[in-house]
Amino acid sequence: MKKYTFTEKKDTRSGFGAGMHVLGQQNPNVVALCADLVGSLKLEPFIKENPERFIQCGISEANMIGVSAGLTIGGKIPFATTFANFATGRVYDQIRQSVAYSGKNVKICASHAGLTLGEDGATHQILEDIGMMKMLPGMTVINPCDYNQTKAATIALAEHEGPAYLRFGRPVIPVFTDPDQKFEIGKAWTVNEGTDVSIFATGHMVWEAIQAGEILEAEGINAEIINIHTIKPLDEEAILKSVEKTGCVVTAEEHNRIGGLGDSVAQVLVKNKLVPQEYVAVNDSFGESGTPAQLLEKYGLDAKHIVEAAKRAIARK
């Protein structure tokens, strides 16, 4: 298996902030909006250099989504930012009517997604956002894996025409991807080629999948690991090509088992090639307070659980 190492850990939200900093310098149409969480979204460098292109909305997310939709009517590219829970569930109707149905070029950028927000608990740990956003016609859904990829995805979004949801997290995690990568929306990234089982992972779970791949390799199992950073549009070709080789699948996501990446992959398989699939996801429950590592373990999302899922999938071939 290809070796992935890291020299530092960083949070993906800082990757977003770094991407916004670049966009502030590169693209005069980019406007940032926030609902009283500037520090959490790492927007300070953007605001310092482009104060006129930052709009503080206060704690009023519904209005922020509407203002964002209106800004596009003047040719602006708004990046509306807050925690994932408030960026999606709280304002689903506003996103549905004023952004998605209206086909507006709004980028909804959401930090603190998933369980790994940690100690704040279930009120802030949204596990349904991928499902809600992917169900909206025309919405692009992106969940990058580390600091560098989040930065690259942020920059790529400004060039992409249409509504998009960018999801990232709070904890510091290993930075293992190329700092100068080009991010291709809708094109999955093969992290490791293998023959025994396909592991399709998204977001923070990609690093867990890499750890799982190393454990499996030590036991003589050769896993193919693919980073599905874009959940919609889904790279069906990459998924089917991998499954042709391996004949079984594990999907891994920091999201509810219902309605997330796993279900998207299952839909591709059921239409094209039936193979065993195992889900590594939260089993239709809310989260709770705890450290990110504790929560990943308790809710069955860490590398150990991916290893077990891979063995179950292989056994069902």
Binding site: V31, E52, R53, I55, C57, G58, S60, A62, N63, M64, I65, G66, V67, S68, A69, G70, L71, T72, I73, G74, G75, K76, P78, D93, Q94, R96, Q97, S98, Y101, S102, G103, K104
Partner: protein, 285 residues
């Protein structure tokens, strides 16, 4: 345009409204009839629109022109009629309102690429926020155009409206004129009974808006005068709120003043009775 000419357009628009709603046996005539003077005055007198060889042209960004947003999207018949009569799309298309494969959806949408529509509306409470975004974009673009937005009075019960009401004075969005159609009716009955909004003017003033009343919202001369007054107050750091006092169903005697015609279509006899009260001035579609 002379007041008399504007009134002629308004009469034809009212005929369009009742015929459209009758044609598909669905839609919202009451609020549409009540806001006819406002939309006619805006599009035929007040707004600076993009034109080429004397004809209006539409582009989504609307740079260097005035923009209008309809937040209470259910009164789409009046907007569609005014847009068609202004020349944005063929008047004959009004006959497709709310029918399968039509660009004139029950509630306005960008989805069908109907000229003049820049955002979907129908789920209430979102239009003021969108208008604030468009007005902010104009400021960022050094575009001198004005943004207009119409809301219903029942719609004031939505929480998002008050998020937007807070935002506008804070960010000094003073290139925006908002209207509330104060017809006092909503689906379930008089607004004071369903959920009393109480003194909306005092509320907006307390939020930092400049508030103007147009007491005779169905008097064309009063509406035009009010629009000039609103325009004159722009550019001084405060958004403008116009309380437009209208009668629901205005112009058709049996529809006037009652919430019962909020979302009900006239039958054949009722249509004939309505049309008998409204002069055909520009030709029916």
């Amino acid at each position: 345009m002379e007041i008399e000419q504007l009134e002629k357009v308004a009469s034809q628009v009212r005929r369009d409204i009742v015929r459209m709603v009758h044609g598909c046996q669905s839609g919202h005539p009451g609020g549409s009839l009540g806001c006819t003077e406002l939309l006619v005055a805006l599009y035929f007198e007040r707004m600076k629109l993009k034109e080429n060889d004397g004809k209006v042209v539409f582009d989504m960004d609307g740079k260097d022109e005035d923009l209008f947003f309809l937040s209470n999207g259910h009164i789409s018949p009046v907007w569609y009629s005014v847009l068609a009569r202004k020349g944005y799309f063929p008047v004959s298309e009004l006959a497709t309102f709310r029918k399968l494969d039509s660009r004139l959806q029950g509630h306005p949408t960008t989805h069908e690429h109907l000229e003049g529509i820049r955002i979907a509306s129908g789920s209430l409470g979102q239009g003021l926020s969108v208008a604030l975004g468009a007005a902010t974009a104009k400021k960022l673009n050094n575009d001198k155009g004005t943004v207009y937005v119409l809301m219903g009075d029942g719609e004031q019960q939505e929480g998002q409206v008050w998020e937007a009401a807070t935002f506008a004075p804070h960010h000094q969005v003073d290139n925006l004129v908002a209207f509330i159609d104060l017809n006092g009716q909503q689906i379930d009955g008089p607004t004071v009974k369903v959920m009393n909004n109480r003194d909306l003017g005092a509320k907006y003033e307390a939020f930092g808006w400049e508030v103007i009343n147009i007491e005779e919202g169905n008097d064309m001369a009063a509406v035009v005068k009010g629009l000039y007054e609103a325009k004159g107050r722009l550019g001084h750091g405060r958004p403008i709120m116009v309380l437009l006092h209208t009668g629901m169903g205005y112009g058709v005697d049996f529809m006037m003043g009652s919430h019962k015609w909020h979302g009900v279509a006239p039958n054949d006899e009722q249509l004939a009775a309505a049309l008998a009260q409204l002069d055909e001035t520009l030709g029916d579609y």
